[in-house]
């Protein structure tokens, strides 16, 4: 178990910069997620921490010790691969024992540790099986046991759930979290699935083309996205172009959109007289029949363009003026309102807690 520090790490393949000056501090014992779309550099960063890739510049530190030039096999890491990478010619037991045997542990220690870890992941009865004889979930558990049994300083997981079906993915999340919490192993988890990231992580780093876009707790990222990219990637969001008019005190700004005026939270970088982006979560917008007077602050007047009825909620696409559409949701049960019909004039109330960021 170790604290991981990543200091100014850059990596380029030819002219393509994959990582650009990445800085991260990962505390001991946390569950840390690298999140981003494919090609954002998250797997490259993970493999750099593992040592399979050496950075062009920058350093990797484990507990303050520079490991940048330490070869993978001496870094004391545990890694879980996307395709599990179980040795097909070895039994589950031999797979899990592999790292312990490489470390020269004696027979009885190996047997005891392996048995304990197989038990912990619920595979105690399958030690004699070969990987080909296991289901996807069982393979995943075996790979997890193999990585954890050596008590690594850091556990690295590269999209470990992406090969499982939806239902199994949810149960495996819990298994992984339980094991991580029990061992307090510093864990770095790579995924492109925001739901996975939000539900599992202590902290998340969102990557955008080799640069860290934002680091924070799941709540930070959802409620206080630093920019439009983060807002768009985490959860659904309306990201709409606005003109910032002036500051309004208490961190608020007045912005203009499609002939309406809004008063919203401004981010530190959004300044009056500049273009900005409004970030509005569909579930926080209040949608109602048109009754407010024109010019009421924070009310956008529009028309229902499309309706998607999903049972628990209904998603409306509302046209504001000629160029703008905005997505808003209404949950069933909260209010027993009738469904709105396409073509119907409506008011969309943008809460003052919505954010305006620099464009």
């Amino acid at each position: 178990m170790a604290a991981i520090t990543i200091s100014k790490v850059s990596k380029a393949y030819g002219k393509a910069a994959v990582l650009q000056g990445v800085e991260l501090a990962i505390e001991n014992g946390t569950f840390f997620t690298l999140l981003g779309p494919s090609g954002c550099g998250k797997t490259t960063l993970l493999r750099t921490i593992a040592g399979f890739i050496s950075p062009d510049t920058g350093k990797i530190l484990f507990d303050g010790e520079d490991v940048t030039r330490v070869p993978v096999h001496r870094r004391d890491i545990g890694m879980v691969f996307q395709d599990y990478a179980l040795f097909p010619d070895k039994t589950v037991f031999a797979n899990v024992a592999y790292g312990l045997r490489a470390r020269g542990h004696d027979r009885s220690t190996v047997e005891k540790s392996v048995a304990a870890h197989l038990d912990r992941v619920g595979l105690a009865h399958l030690g004699d099986r070969y990987p080909a004889e296991l289901s996807g979930g069982q393979r995943q558990r075996a790979a997890l046991a193999r990585a954890l049994v050596i008590r690594p300083r850091v556990l690295l997981m590269d999209e470990p759930l992406s090969n499982l079906d939806a239902k199994l993915r949810v149960t495996m999340r819990e298994t992984i979290l339980d094991l991580q919490r029990a061992s307090r192993t510093t864990t770095i988890f790579v995924t492109h699935d925001q739901e996975e990231a939000l539900s599992m992580s202590d902290r998340i780093a969102i990557l955008d083309r080799g640069v860290i876009a934002q680091v924070g707790t799941p709540e930070d990222l959802y409620e206080r996205p630093a920019n439009a990219y983060v807002a768009d990637f985490i959860g659904a969001a309306n990201v709409l172009p606005v003109r910032i008019l002036r500051a309004a005190g208490e961190g608020h700004v007045i912005a203009a959109i499609a002939g309406h005026e809004l008063c919203c939270l401004g981010s530190g970088t959004a300044r009056g007289g500049e273009d900005g982006k409004l970030i509005a979560r569909p579930e926080l917008l209040v949608l109602g029949e048109a009754e407010a007077a024109p010019g009421t602050p924070n009310v956008l007047k529009g028309q229902v363009a499309r309706r998607q009825y999903l049972g628990a909620r209904t998603v409306y696409t509302v046209r504001i003026g000629n160029e703008l559409t905005i997505t808003a949701e209404r949950h069933a049960g909260a209010t027993h309102q009738p469904l709105l019909a396409p073509g119907q004039p409506v008011d969309v109330v943008v809460p003052r807690t919505s954010r305006v960021v620099a464009a």
Binding site: V72, D83, L156
Partner: protein, 548 residues
């Protein structure tokens, strides 16, 4: 990412150096010698080749023979593959034996045994002559050569076509039928065009094998001018003199094969069709007269393929005098002599084959790993070097090695080492291909998992990659063992006093008309090939062929 150049860089350099020394250097020596004259560079060899009608006839005959055998082998192999792929009939399981025959029966034995059957003193020839007064045409010459070579080489086309047909997407046929084509039209308009490139690729391999063929050509050739024989004769005649003619003829053969392989790589392989979802239509069960006909056909092909084994074993245990085998008698004299006074070739063969197989497979595993898993400019060069021997027929390889290591700082001619080098180089492209095929299926993450668990890269290779490769390595092992024991065309050029192997001994006995000793050696050779293969297939559960 490579963190350090070592150890893979050093191993790549070593592999390239070995190839440069034993493949590139001999080839360059050969080229140099063919263009050498009294005062440095000269074109005497080429001029003499173009001015000698016999050589030109040799070139023409070689091409004619190549085309004839290729066509015959295709006519046998393709319909046979179609029947096996698409129909189910009694005795069908016997077809699994066919490729085995090609592996375990050396060409020289096939040739010799057919002489025992259809040669001047063959038992069928004699039976027809004595009972019905029918005189069969001589087995020596075009007829015999095409007959035996077709039997030896049709399996290449059969196996290639079978694999293509088994990977064929049956929905294409259903689509054609739904659009209004009859089943027969569909075969000619959809199935055949789709598998044609696969057939052609294998047909071209057969052509190159015929061009390089030595054993059948020299035993049955009956002084018909053929390039491979002329090259060998030039080598024998120029012993001790200037090697201009042997080098020139070798170069002509290399060029001929290289052209064919170039066309194959450049134009034919590109047309190979990759089926997205190949679910071949299930074999149709046929009964009654058609089933009987197919069963009969299989039986005939299997019998023709295995007849040499039976003939040779019976002859080995019969009394014989010169070219005459007295069928129906029993004698242990031949076998006894082979195992006592004449035991040297047996011991030599065993010795060379075991060392060459071990060395060749170790090299193939390492080189294929470097080529597939450690891609770099250097391994790319290695990749080209290791397939170079495909263009070199056995005779030419032998000549090149003799020329390269006859003088200078490294004299190897007449040593056991040159025999082993010859075997390893000859087999190298095939061994590397089969070792590499399984490597493509090993994901990189497997090695990374091992390294991440604390095992250094080189040890990971031995602990993780080699065991997973094991199945294909084992089958490469078996194939190399068999082909090395059977090798004649290159070893007959490089061998010297005390280095005679079994195929060389068999050839010399046949050449001087002593069928008894030849059969005894042939029987021993087959046993040496078959017993270890049978044991290892049984014990190690090796699957020799992807398609059965």
């Amino acid at each position: 990412m490579r963190q350090r150049i070592l150890p893979w860089g050093a191993l790549t350099t070593l592999c390239i150096a070995i190839n440069a020394l034993f493949v590139l250097f001999p080839l360059l020596t050969l080229v140099g010698n063919s263009f050498s004259g009294a005062d440095g560079i000269g074109f005497d060899g080429l001029a003499r080749f173009l001015a000698t009608p016999d050589y030109l006839r040799g070139l023409r005959n070689t091409v004619v023979l190549g085309v004839a055998v290729t066509v015959a082998a295709t006519l046998v192999g393709v319909p046979f593959a179609y029947i096996v792929a698409r129909y189910d009939f009694p005795l069908k399981n016997f077809v699994a034996l066919l490729p085995v025959a090609t592996i375990i029966i050396p060409e020289v034995i096939t040739c010799q045994s057919w002489l025992l059957v259809l040669g001047n003193n063959g038992f069928v020839t004699k039976a027809l002559r004595d009972s019905a007064g029918i005189e069969l045409p001589s087995f020596y010459g075009w007829g015999g050569m095409i007959f035996v070579m077709t039997l030896v080489y049709y399996t290449y086309i059969y196996l290639g076509t079978l694999a293509a047909l088994r990977g064929f997407d049956g929905q294409l046929e259903e689509a054609s039928r739904s659009l209004g084509r009859t089943p027969v039209e569909t075969v000619f308009r959809v199935v055949i065009p789709t598998v044609a490139p696969a057939i052609l690729v294998n047909a071209m391999v057969v052509f190159t094998l015929v061009v390089g063929n030595f054993a059948v050509s020299i035993i049955l050739g009956n002084r018909i001018p053929l390039l491979s024989i002329q090259t060998y004769n030039a080598f024998v005649n120029e012993m001790g003199g200037s090697p201009v003619m042997q080098s020139t003829l070798s170069l002509v053969m290399i060029t001929l094969v290289a052209i064919v392989l170039f066309v194959q790589k450049r134009f034919v392989e590109r047309r190979l069709v990759q089926m997205a979802q190949g679910r071949a239509p299930a074999a149709v069960r046929v009964a009654s007269w058609r089933g009987m006909a197919f069963a009969g056909l299989v039986l005939v092909v299997v019998l023709l393929s295995f007849l040499p084994l039976v003939t040779v074993f019976v002859a080995a245990f019969s009394e014989s005098r010169g070219p005459l085998v007295r069928w129906g008698t029993f004698s242990l004299a031949g076998i006894e002599r082979a195992l006592t006074a004449g035991v040297d070739p047996i011991l030599n063969s065993l010795k060379f084959a075991s060392v060459a197989t071990a060395a060749g497979i170790a090299f193939a595993v390492l080189a294929s790993y470097l080529i597939v898993k450690k891609r770099s400019a250097a391994t790319q060069a290695l990749d080209y070097l290791v397939v170079l021997p495909l263009t070199i027929s056995g005779t030419v390889l032998g000549i090149a090695l003799v020329q390269a290591f006859n003088s200078g700082s490294m004299v190897l001619t007449g040593t056991a080492l040159i025999m082993i080098v010859t075997y390893v180089v000859r087999r190298m492209p095939f061994s590397i291909r089969s070792a590499a095929s399984s490597l493509y299926n090993i994901p990189d993450s497997l090695e990374e998992a091992s390294i991440s668990l604390g095992v250094p890269p080189l040890k990971t290779f031995l602990k993780v990659v080699v065991p997973v490769m094991w199945a294909s390595v084992a089958s490469a092992f078996v194939l190399m063992w068999a082909s090395t024991l059977s090798e004649l065309s290159a070893s007959i050029v490089v061998y010297g006093g005390g280095l005679e192997t079994l195929p060389i001994a068999i050839f010399r006995q046949v050449d001087s008309g002593r069928m008894g000793p030849a059969s005894a050696y042939a029987a021993v050779l087959v046993v040496l090939i078959v017993v270890p293969i049978a044991l290892s297939v049984k014990l190690l559960r090796i699957r020799l062929f992807a398609t059965k």
